[in-house]
Amino acid sequence: MFGIKADWSLDIQERYFTLDDYEGNEARWCSGCGDHAVLATAHRILRDAQLPPEKSVFVSGIGCSSRMPHYMATYGLHGIHGRALPLACGVKSRRPDLDVWVATGDGDCYSIGAGHWIHAVRYNMDMTVLIFDNQIYGLTKKQTSPTSPIELKTNTHPEGASLDAMNPNTVTLGITNASFVAQVVDWNPPLLHETLKAAHAHKGASFVRIIQRCPVFVDSITKELQEDASRLRLLTHENGIPVAKGVEKLFPDSVEHDPSDMAGALRIARDETEKGIIPVGLLYQNQNIPCYSDLSGQGVETTDEEKIAATNAALDVFAI
């Protein structure tokens, strides 16, 4: 911000951004909804990074989570159901200068958009993907989602969900080019902040599954976890998500896990399905995976003269 240079001139940054500069319309999520916490965290991360609001684009699909762009004062693209990822990849494809975020949910990403999820992991374009996983369809009013626990009573399964819940982390980890896979809960603000900050700083597609409260439809699922943290397993490591001592104390179960260890990450992720132990922290990170956005963005600096010359050369081949 302010500083005195060696030549004694005052160095004043032309624009300084406060939280207000990132806050869009007033959020209209239900009270007690975990989305509010994610939104506030995103505002803070952009403010801390002092990114000009016009340089960030929040892209979303359809669902409660996908309203997020409206509550940001950045650019936003509120798309259609399931297609947030290909829309976001398109934004990034020829605009490597833009800071791209994706807000999607368990229905939007893991169900109707599942094909794009797999390929977005492969593309590994530089963007931050937030999956708001409340384990239920909220906006359409309480239908079973892919991550709904078995036997959960919903409007589409009044006798209880008939299938075991999908494990999104084992899927993401299993896709070639996975480069950043983390999981966090919405009700631990310091951990949420550190996790999203690390995801935002990572070059590549960072997939963060945020286990999140929906007090209106499935309060019971997260309430249990909030009241008894023993089902959560905190992942600690010097290369993982930084955890303050006070925060660490909240987790009775914590384990040191090196985020470069894929086999360990898969084992820990599988425990969620097999033992009901939910990992929190950085499961996997690899900073050496190529970003497709580096490839798709090639040639953005091409001049008009070069374009015309290349097209003329192409025409020459067919000249008679």
Partner: protein
Amino acid sequence: MQPQTKQEHIVEIVSDSGEGAQKCGQTFGTISAKMGNGVWTVEIIPAEIQPPARTPSGASGIRIRLGSKEITNVGNEGDLVVAFNEQVLYSRIANGAYKEGTVVLLDNRWESDRSTEIQQMYKKAVAEFRDHGLVVHELPIHEACLKVVKDPRKGKNMFVLGMLCRIYNRDKEMGRNEIALTFAGKAEKIITSNQKLFDAGYQFAAEQLGEYFFEIPTREDRSDSPMVVTNGNTAVGLGVMASGMELVSMYPITPATSASHYLADVFPAAGGFVHQAEDEIAAIAFAIGASYAGKTACTITSGPGMALKTENIALAVMAEVPLVIVNVQRGGPSTGLPTKIEQGDLLSALYGEPGDAPKIILAAATIAECCSMVVLARKLAESFRTPVIVLTDANLATGVQPWERPELSRDMLAPPLDQSEWNSDIPAYDWDEKTGLSQRPIPGMPNGEYVLTGLSHTKQSKVSYESAENQYSATMRSRKLATLQSTLTPPNIHGDESGDMLVVGWGSTFGAIEEAVDNLRTTGEKISSIHLRFLSPLEPGLTEIFSQFKKVITIEVNYSDDINAPMITTENRRYAQLAMVLRVQTLADVDCWSAVYGHPLQPEMIGNVLQERLNQLNKKTGE
């Protein structure tokens, strides 16, 4: 001996898949174009990559129509055919490709095949072809190739090219050079071997087929402007480059994919990128993302891909995202006829989305327009802040024709990315009430921040459930089409401005319709035609033009009910697609004739239909 002068000839080469008939024909077409003939070629493509050999359904090949004036369509029946086996000719005969007197140059290797079954099939077929009126010459083509190469399956096509170059008195050196160009980058050995086959074929035709020696005079109407020879899909690719677009996002689909193949090769030199997406939906979503971010992009597909893209097209309409969508139409519905032509997607392009989704729709009528319309489409998309659909079809996609080389200029290109400060007093959709037009903020512009949404929204792009807001924004989006129409001029009338009958066409039928109309006019019929390039909005002045004719009829390659068929009445008759649109828009009693044979309409076929309707009309009016 002097060659016999012909004003035009239609040549076919038919073989099993993989024998190189198309390469032979394309090279022959290019040589002919370079020598100053009018040329149109169309490929005959089976749906499978390796269909069973020696079967009618596996017929793979090419038709080349060459003449002493501009050639705009495939023409009627063939004059001369080279066939690598007899079975593939059956499907061409069934398609009405030949007439009494068509000369067939047939490889006779099957007569002495090891299999007696094949020997018998061959003899039976030759007898049947002769009964059908074809002039069959059984020639030792395979045997002659064996004298030059060990495996004539590779290279027989260049032997045939040599034969054709002798028969049509082509410049032999030009032929040899063209082979060098065709195989450029391959080993010298391969080029020499193919040139030897070419020479052998040339000599073979001179010795064995001396009576077939033709001269097609050079085009007199040839312009002095530089020309290029390409098919329609390559022209689409060239249009993408000439328009300054930076991104094509696609998913493989016949018959559109070769446009993207071509671009994958040449686009990077112009700074562009071809993205092969995981599916059709992602392909358009990716393009919308790029366009939203200020880089107007293109997606290239065919009918089934369009069906998958509808929800995203609606998003682009609703949120006013510039976008170019090329639909290389094929036979439908469902998987339909993937390699064959149809003009079946006009109504789905117009009305495929839920709700009201006004958009611009253009149709290319020629191969040159496959290029120029993409350039136009990018400009319109940007100026009118809307998706633009360019309809081409399988006939244009694979048809090859010489066309005037476009003179490239800066104003064809997309303007540089604007990142200047946005005036924060101007909302994201600052609709001009009269025209519906507005400027768009681009991400990166300070003070332009807005959230693009597919939900009903206000000027400020705020989600709105207010009924008045929804009515207003729908009006603004629709008004843009009326605004565009006000800038257009009425279509050119081919023929007189009044008369008995007006034929209306769109797309690749252009050349065939005009040829049919010209033929009828020389017999004294009072018939004219117009060909529409703008289908949404329609070109202006149609009501006035129609009123000058006793009857208006569309000729289209899509399905419609025949009014004389059982059960069909004027109340339940399903009209051809353009006819339906014209009837609604002009309230004129527009008739139609259309068919879905999967092949391009021949001028003679159109001529016969129109003659019949003219006779009915004259009987009715008592003339």
